[in-house]
């Protein structure tokens, strides 16, 4: 009888322990595997923030030819990282999605030209070929041309892909006069000694890029996991405001392949930190006014077919919880990690 009692208690304790440790998997579709580009994830994992929140992040890094929104809608992904154009186009197409967190509030996208002899403004590209890193960059180029009173039809576009050698060869050989891409694409080129200038119209820089979108009907159902996920992400951002050197060390360990070339790794990290740190008071906050302001020029450029009421898809329901953490505690944890690992 005593043996049975002991076994029953052991089983109960094990079951309770098991449930306490149970982790919810958050499936997130985005363009890259764990990378310096989205360092808050790596930092959050290194400091155990996601685990503390009971969340395991399962990345579904995919080529941009994959329709990300469809995977949110069919339930294969809980979160999707979308840019402004994809978000607005999806909403216009009737997709029931909500933008719940802005990962990068300063667009990493841009138009890069050779520093030596390249165009000085968008008008200088007229009549030339412009390379697109992916199909996603066409809309940005369209908006950039329109911002300075030109049309995308004034240039010829060609998709180059994200391979560094192809981009390098195309721009240095003069096959393309500019590359429409993002800071991640030219960090490698610059580290390899190719000097580039950005001619991106300033109006386009303050635009939300890489936002988290999810199925609107699952906002409540997934609240606990999502709040935990976004809090851990925000803590990851916060760490970079305190100790970028610690972030660098974590990245060196988690993604050594991006740090084999010191210059390229550093250049990339320096480029992406300002992109990842939110410019709003609350990390990841959704900016109603910015989303409203960007639409007329996107319509004018033909990137989207009509205006969208931002209240139909911007949803800050998780933002308060995402920012509900003790900054001092994070600072102490970072110092402790640095003392142990650096």
């Amino acid at each position: 009888m005593r043996l049975l009692k002991t076994l029953a208690i052991t089983a109960a304790v094990t079951a309770m322990g098991g449930s306490a440790l149970a982790q919810t998997t958050v499936n997130m579709i985005n363009p890259l595997p764990r990378s310096t580009v989205f360092y808050p994830l790596v930092v959050g994992e290194a400091l155990g923030y996601f685990e503390e929140e009971g969340v395991t992040v399962n990345l579904l890094p995919s080529d941009t030819s994959i329709p990300y929104v469809a995977f949110v809608q069919n339930g294969q992904a809980d979160l999707s990282m979308l840019d402004q154009n994809e978000t607005l186009s999806a909403v216009l197409a009737g997709a029931n999605i909500n933008t719940v967190y802005e990962v990068m509030q300063n667009a990493p996208e841009g138009i890069a030209v050779l520093a030596d002899g390249g165009a000085t403004d968008m008008g200088g590209l007229k009549g030339t070929a412009v390379g697109l890193v992916s199909d996603r960059d066409r809309a940005f180029l369209q908006a950039a041309m329109a911002a300075e009173g030109h049309s995308i039809n004034d240039v010829e576009t060609v998709i180059l892909g994200e391979s560094g050698p192809v981009l390098a060869r195309a721009i240095t050989n003069g096959d393309v006069s500019a590359i429409a891409g993002s800071v991640f694409d030219w960090a490698g080129l610059q580290a390899a000694g190719i000097e580039l200038n950005l001619i991106t119209p300033e109006d386009l820089l303050a635009a939300p890029a890489n936002t988290f979108a999810m199925d609107a009907s699952k906002i409540e159902e997934k609240r606990e996991a999502m709040e935990g996920f976004m809090r851990a992400w925000s803590k990851g951002i916060h760490v970079s405001t305190l100790r970028p050197d610690v972030v660098e060390k974590m990245l060196r360990e988690a993604v050594p392949e991006e740090w084999e070339d010191e210059a390229a790794g550093k250049s990339l990290l320096e480029g992406v930190i300002p992109m990842n740190i939110s410019s709003t008071e609350r990390y990841g906050d959704v900016q109603t006014q910015v989303w409203t302001d960007i639409q007329p020029r996107m319509i004018e450029a033909g990137a989207i077919s009509g205006k969208v009421d931002v209240n139909t898809f911007l949803n800050d329901t998780y933002i308060e919880a995402a920012n509900d953490f003790d900054r001092d505690e994070v600072a102490a944890e970072v110092e402790a990690w640095a003392a142990e690992n650096m």
Partner: protein
């Protein structure tokens, strides 16, 4: 026996000499190419941005395999996927090829679809497969399976259909049953052809895994190559590419070896080996030949 050994001696040593000379010639050509590449890069005849010096590639090999060791997890994933996709593609190809080959009715209805499938670019189908099967290994294996299924299918079909007519007539005139024809004539004629298809399928599976990993970039050699090329770290990208070349070569050689054992009757040395083994067995049992 002593006589035979004596007579084999000079020719055996002659063979060894020839083999050594052939290997040395290969090594010299290879060495010259590598040296030319190294000099070309150092003198900037070749742009080091795109063609890193072989010495840098060797350093990268050392780093990704030894000091950093980050390639291993990707390598395991990719090889696992290649083998799984190859197995699935082979089973499907051989089964379907046999069914289509042995049954004219099935052939009439299935073959056109298979040919249409072969004409469809796999890379275009890949996103649909991911949508249908979900992210992860299952959809990657399906992509690889599709890439490598056609060679076993067409070779099995060809092997089964193109049986030597005269031999078939002979079997029939001797009253052989369908099963006897299948076992004693069709399979022996088809297996070497099927094995050739398997060789092609396994090397195609390597391309298939790259397609799958270029689209789903979570892990694997394909994902690693993308990371390296995006960062213009061409030495490490080349190290990954050469890793695939070496694996491809090893796979091809491995399949050749397997072919010699499975379809031994289609190789002279295989027949000799089996005859010798039989002689030894028979000699042990006291049967004179």
């Amino acid at each position: 026996m002593a006589e035979a050994t004596a007579s084999l001696g000079p020719s055996a040593s002659g063979g060894l000499y020839l083999r050594t000379r052939r290997w040395l010639t290969h090594a010299a050509i290879f060495g010259t190419l590598i040296l030319a590449w190294e000099i070309g890069t150092r003198t900037e005849l070749l742009d080091p941005l795109f063609y890193p010096a072989p010495s840098k590639i060797i350093t990268s090999f050392w780093r990704i395999y030894v000091t950093q060791g980050n390639i291993w997890k990707h390598l395991y994933v990719s090889i696992g996927l290649v083998l799984a996709g190859f197995a699935a593609g082979s089973i499907l190809g051989i089964t379907l090829g046999s069914l289509v080959g042995l049954n004219p009715l099935v052939r009439r209805f299935i073959k056109p679809y298979v040919i249409v499938l072969e004409a469809t670019p796999r890379i275009a189908v890949a996103p649909l497969l991911i949508a249908a099967l979900g992210f992860g290994a299952q959809s990657k294996i399906a992509i690889i399976m599709l890439v490598c299924f056609f060679a076993p299918f067409i070779n099995t079909l060809s092997g089964v259909v193109n049986v030597n007519e005269e031999k078939l007539e002979l079997f029939k005139s001797l009253g052989a049953s369908k099963m006897q024809i299948l076992k004693k004539l069709v399979l022996p004629e088809a297996v070497p052809v099927i094995m050739a298809g398997e060789r092609l399928a396994l090397t195609a599976a390597l391309s298939g895994v790259l397609v799958a990993e270029f689209i789903q970039r979570d892990q694997g050699i394909g994902a690693l190559i993308l990371t390296y090329t995006r960062n213009l770290n061409m030495a490490s990208a080349f190290a990954c590419i050469f890793t695939l070349t070496i694996i491809g070569f090893a796979i091809f050689k491995g399949m050749e070896l397997m072919d010699r054992y499975i379809a031994f009757w289609s190789h002279e040395d295989g027949m000799t080996r089996v005859s010798q083994n039989r002689n030894v067995r028979w000699a042990k049992q006291g049967w004179a030949r």
